[in-house]
Amino acid sequence: MNSEVETSAMSDEYLAPRGLKHFVGRLLKVRLAALGLFFIVVLIFCSIFAPVLAPRDPAAANGYRALESPSRDFLLGTDYLGRDILSRLIYGSRISLLVAVLSIGITVMIGVPLGLMSGYLGGWIDTVFMRLMDALYAFPPLLLALTLVAALGPSIINVIVAVGIVMIPTFSRLARAQTLSVREQTYVIAARTVGSPVRRILFRHIWPNVMAAIIVQSSLGMAVAILAESSLSYMGVGVRPPTATWGVMLAEGYPHLESNPWLSIIPGSAIFLTVLSLNLVGDALRDVLDPRLRGVT
């Protein structure tokens, strides 16, 4: 038992003294990541305080003022039904973030344990899980999501579930690959030798060392999820009208691309900036977390 306490203390040691403050500090040193992080924080703020920030009801149409250019009344103009684009954009951030966070949640909750078990236990469990993942991987991701949403019916929950399922193989493979290298570490072998139960080894010893890679992948995955939601909404299988999402706004703007390009440019830029920010933060996370991992090994 003693050695087990020691090994777990060892991995904790690497997390504890440096702490969150140190971690964020290092992250912010990467200037682009700081910019990305700032944008994401603004976005979160917008989505939480949408009812306060949005100047109008995002669903309130006024057909007599359709397709107006930006003005004092409508800061970003109006769409083809005379709805305020700024308000729809702000409310749209809620859907985008919700989809990003929840679908990654689903993916991590299902994909990571599968990967950990596959990697650590090996044998037939590994074979079965990984072939299952291969099968999922074989589908073009968007097509799979489209099929799932078509089967489950259009709703935001179903979009989240579909996008979550589509990303599972990426995460479980990553978790498995990381586990394969970590399980050969002496502290894992030691824990196994003293008879630690599998669950404890997985979550106490292996998970903390796999986590970094998963965090990096999650930030990148969120970007993928936002794009997937936009694509699904663009194709009309996402949310029900009049819910505003960036993908829906993009789709609704498309027929007016020639006459009123801002209808598409505004939500398009929002998607672009969010995905860019998430990718920048993800890249920086990798840079910050990787050396620390090397420190552990």
Partner: protein, 519 residues
Amino acid sequence: MTGTKKNRLLVFTIIMALAFSLTTVCLAKGPKYGGTLVQGFGVYPNSLDAQVASGGSSRVMVSQYNETLIDTDQKGNLLPGLATSWELTDPKTIIFHLRKGVKFQDGTDFNAEAVKFNFERIAGKIEPKITGPGKRTANSFESVEAVDPYTVKIKMKGPDAGILSFMHGWFTAMVSPTAVKKWGDKYLFHPTGTGPFILKKHIPGSQILYEKFDGYWKKDKDGNALPYLDKMKIMIIPDPATREAALRSGTIDMDQEIAAKHAIRLRKNPKIEVITIEGFLAKFLPLNTGKPPMDNVWFRKAVNMAIDRQEIITSIYQGEGSIPNGFFSPISWAYDPNLKWYDYNLEKAKDALKKSGLPEGTSFKVAVYNPQAKAEAELVQAQLKRVGINMVIDNVDFATFNSQYRRQGLYHAAFTGYPQTGYDPGFMNFVFHFSKGPYSDPSHPTMYDALAIQARSAAGGDREKRKEIFAKLHKLVYDNAGETYLVWTNGYRVFRSYVKNFKLKADQFSEATEVWLDK
């Protein structure tokens, strides 16, 4: 003015005069033969077999090789087609005198036996059996008899004022019995009629190619052979914006399905002509009056009065369209300017909702199956919200909606549209809750049906008498708020200016029989 300048002016004047006279000579010259007409359409027809094809653009594609007994002009006036004349000897019997010397594209003769064969096929009695839009009416014939090689007598089971209109529907087009027997269930790939063009090649979902039929019977007014064109091509381009670009660049010569926004933009282009057909499409919501809360008449009235129809026209249809006073727009002879429909009135709508006894926030669910209707639906949703009615929109696939949801009564209403044509309004029976229609009203089926049948069978098809019956039917629908009429939108037909002789038929589409290209 110097000498050189004078000379230049003289030369310029001469050139201008020459150019002008040349143009006049060209203009004076009659139709030109030759060339290929390229038409753009959004959807590939559901079948190339005219008797099976559904309406709209499919009808244009099949009518190039198939013709009907009766022809029409834009107003719906009947003209001789494959039949030179016809007479109703009594309200249940009609006799057609057929045109002599007409040949099918496979060289066989068009005669009374062929007509008999065709009506049996339309009724679904000939192997392989088909089901098309004409089946129900053709099945209501008691007998079709070939009196002599060029006379056909049709006996109906009951009087039907719409029978002559039925005879110019594309689905009663005459196909070659020999070809049907030869090809069997593959006939749809080898359609053979008497029309001006022969189907040469078809790439499903993408293109249809036609070539001139040299043995075509019809002549133009000067006795010249028709058609003028050598070839015709139909290109399927689903995206309307791409079709507009194709027309601008001259990739296609004609688009008969263009939406308001694109057509209005093209009006500014001097090389393109735009024909506007006012009140072409009646947009409406048939209500499933058997399904609560839609079974509540005050609720239905509230929905009707909460809709600001002008707002729909302004925002979605660029201000072009009109507010309906009933089902029939001025295109149809059944249009009656004296009818009235619910006006937009927020206060009255709120009042009606109170009278219905239903709470604010009462929900109902609508099906939407095309993008234009989606825009309408979202606007109506926002309008209804103003009085406290919550409309839930479901985007559904049309085929599934038609085959399942409608019968299951899954929705309270559907956003739909029906083209207004010179056809007999008897075809629109279904709109008035005819028991076979999209939704039937369990509280009044017999009343509706009785009136609809009366309107269809009115003795001798006297239009004034039938209009009176339609007015009664309208009153019934009005009192029960059994429909929600939205807007009459315009239809647009656009073509490059070198396309000449563009003539619309009763269904407001143009065929290519007499079209020529001034290139």
